[in-house]
């Protein structure tokens, strides 16, 4: 199921993360699992702020990478769902508020 383009997502506030040379490393403190995002994943991660919608994130991808709007939206949706399954992000609707 694709996450709707109007939906907004935010990072799990408990995560530790750092962008190191265009790649983002994320650690979940509860299980010590380490995650790595490539450069486009890192770009999206930086822009996930609880305010921008999925569609807006995809538009940013189109502006910064050579990708069509259709592919950008589909890739953004896929990455958010993947990160959601790993509890790295949650929808603002789920948390009820935009977390700091």
């Amino acid at each position: 199921m694709n996450t709707p383009a109007a939906m907004t997502w935010q990072k799990n506030p408990e995560l530790a993360w750092r962008e190191i040379d265009d790649q983002t490393v994320i650690i979940s403190p509860n299980d010590s699992v380490m995650h790595e995002l490539n450069d486009t994943g890192s770009f999206l991660w930086k822009n996930i702020d609880g305010i921008k919608s999925v569609g807006e994130l995809a538009e940013l991808l189109v502006e910064n990478y050579e990708v069509t709007p259709h592919v950008a939206l589909s890739d953004t949706q896929a990455l958010l769902e993947e990160m959601s399954s790993r509890k790295l992000v949650a929808t603002v609707a789920e948390t009820g508020v935009v977390l700091p």
């Binding site: 530790a16 790649q23 650690i27 380490m34």
Partner: protein, 404 residues
Amino acid sequence: MSVTSSAGATPLMDRLISRTVRKHRPLSVHFDLTYRCNERCVHCYLDHDDHGELTTAECLKVLDDLARSGTLFLTFSGGEIFLRRDLYEILAAARHLHFDISLKSNALLVTAERAARLREFAVRRVQISVYSDVPAIHDAITKVPGSLERTLAAIPVLLEHGLPVKLACPLMRENLAGYRGVMALAEKLGVPYVLDLTITPMMDGSGGPLEHRASVSSLLPVLRDPVLHSCKPQMTPQAARAMNSFEPSLGSAVSSGMASSAYEDLPCSAGHNSCYISPYGDVFPCVQLPQAAGNLRREKFDDIWYHAPQLERLRAIRETQLPICSRCEIRSYCERCPGLALMEGGDMLGAYERACALAEEKARLAGVAAPISALHLKRKQEAGLVPTKGEVEFASFAVHTSSD
């Protein structure tokens, strides 16, 4: 776009270490917030007087600099961290900057309220020093009556608040015989542990703590212990479930770096992708290598990290170029530390007695016949007890000639 995940010491971690070593990114930092302590452990290498700790504002500035430089793994230690009145303020800032936060403490001051605060800051691990499961032994080391009871009472409190705990047990003369008790205690608590064979000199180089160091021969039962698999990572089933670190159960409790094959020909992580910061703002490659590269009150972290001559010299060292150790036949059994080589042998590039003796014992236990380190071989050769390489070749030539 992709997201890759894994836990523990993994290819993903190795890749991160390789990348940060190659580009000299300060991935892991050990930050002592204070040297003040409410215990007086007999083997401690610190001067517990306060000689002018970084202020709260200075600590927060350091954290900002580290985050900008790419530090992810941040360990706050001491002294006893709970003696810093601004600890929560510092932890809140570290959380805000998305560090992976670990703490080291004796847990004497842990309460349910304090544990709850630590949980708020998403602390990933609290490492607690436990020297024995026997109160008289533990308390004699800390010089605080009742300290084991208080420390052990704190552990369930931390666990109940969702804070992973790890026991750290430096082994010395006073507690060596009871190391199995600490392992059993960890198993009972369901937490991982690390037994540490390293007792270091004071940071000023004086050797007081070394009086408590166990002899190499007395360490043999530990090295032989099948549960520890001859120094390979080994955990109880409960500890494996609670596994939340990238370190083995027999290793160093003070190192700021992480063990990995990704370091290849480097002596260790110190100065390559890890460093140590003292409560006074001094930046060292490692707490065990007390050669200050600069001070954060006078210089920015990046200026020290990328330009200090001490760090540049350290980064040039390759194990295969060490004058003595590079030709050592039992090098693979050695856990040589550049800092201890400097403090104990006077030369960061040199061999030192303790590492050589331990390597020989480990090699012997692994089935190597008559193992001898390059240092000991050199000494024997200098004393004329074994032929040098040139003498062996000459003797061989002489035998060949006579048979003609």
